[in-house]
Symmetry: C2
Subunit: 212 residues, 2 copies
């Protein structure tokens, strides 16, 4: 069984959401300067790289925070759906045409975004492929419990709120910032483990797929 690392590497060059703080890595204890060990501090928004959104991110109030997301949704059988490069927006029409296998509960979209991580890693793109509001409703109506996308938002750049609201209100777990370039369409076991940050609106995660 092959294991695929579908996580982005966190570096100061990784693009962050416009307006969010940049990623800072500060190795404040350095062996070459006589310290007993190397020690680094990280400073970053929790929505960097491969990460999970908690409902509290867009719903606020008493909505679930990241440490409350159930592990039995974050781990288990998942289906990677490969969308052709000409797909700009994930709509019900696209999903009907390509087909989601019956009983799919975790659905990861491999789009042209994944190749862009390898080609043009450190520039933020506004024209990434994302899920329309109607696409989000279609996903909820089909009993999907977890959805993953291969750029930094599940929603189109110009209209973030509707897609997030629909998915998060329905309790669909949202993973953003996957790199699926090494993975083919098909079934896998997913292990997506976000940091357990108390009370937070999201958390960076390491995500892997294991061939089944």
């Amino acid at each position: 069984m092959r294991t695929y690392d579908i996580s982005l590497t966190i570096t100061p060059d990784l693009p962050t959401w416009p307006g969010d703080p940049k990623i800072v890595l500060d190795r404040f204890s350095k062996m070459e300067e006589g310290a007993p060990c190397n020690v680094t501090q990280i400073s970053a928004c929790v929505h960097i790289g491969t990460h999970v959104d908690a409902p509290y991110h867009f719903l606020g109030g008493q909505a679930e925070t990241i440490e409350q997301i159930p592990l039995n949704i974050l781990t288990g059988r998942a289906y990677v759906l490969h969308l052709p490069d000409e797909v700009d927006l994930i709509t019900p029409e696209v999903l009907i045409r390509l087909g989601i296998p019956p009983r799919t509960r975790r659905l990861l979209f491999k789009t042209r975004n994944s190749a862009s991580w390898n080609r043009d890693y450190n520039r933020f793109h506004e024209d990434f492929v994302a899920i329309s509001a109607e696409g989000a409703e279609f996903i909820v109506d089909h009993g999907i419990r977890l959805v993953g996308v291969d750029y930094l938002s599940v929603a189109p750049f110009a209209e973030p709120k509707p897609t997030h609201d629909i998915l998060l209100q329905a309790g669909v777990v949202v993973i953003e910032g996957l790199n699926l370039s090494q993975v083919s369409q098909g079934r896998y076991s997913l292990y997506c483990l976000p940091l357990k940050i108390g009370g937070a609106d999201g958390a960076p995660a390491r995500a892997i797929l294991i061939g089944v």
Copy 2:
């Protein structure tokens, strides 16, 4: 199959290593103040809570950094060994007396440290149970590829270097800061996924055990 979350919750109250920066969580975008969504920034040492040490942490130079630790060591069959509360130091004598099952490749130590996370969460203890240098050599000699401890260092507080050096030079993956209080001695499947931070000496991780 039951899933156990063996990760500590990251909060500003979580004890950090003496001298390391405190954990800061700053929700800089707040819906109650009119922002479109809640967004938090985290600032922390990479060796907080449940985390993995990379060889570069204590060996420096060209030693492996955290994103290079193989996933096939971080995931797979693991054995939780429950040490009686009177054990202060994990030595060869303790390991011989309690017994490591044959063919164990990943070994997690449940000590009295685990209960302290529930009882006295937010105070740093110097008298935690850890592995002696001789215990580390014993572990290496027995072909263990991953070792996990339930406090913030694999080594005794007063003598951090020898235990770290022995394990990391042998390529043994070191997980620190587990909370094994809910887990009994026995065999499990471990998934320990540290953040993929480029070039770093360590990374916080989410770790789970699945009953087998």
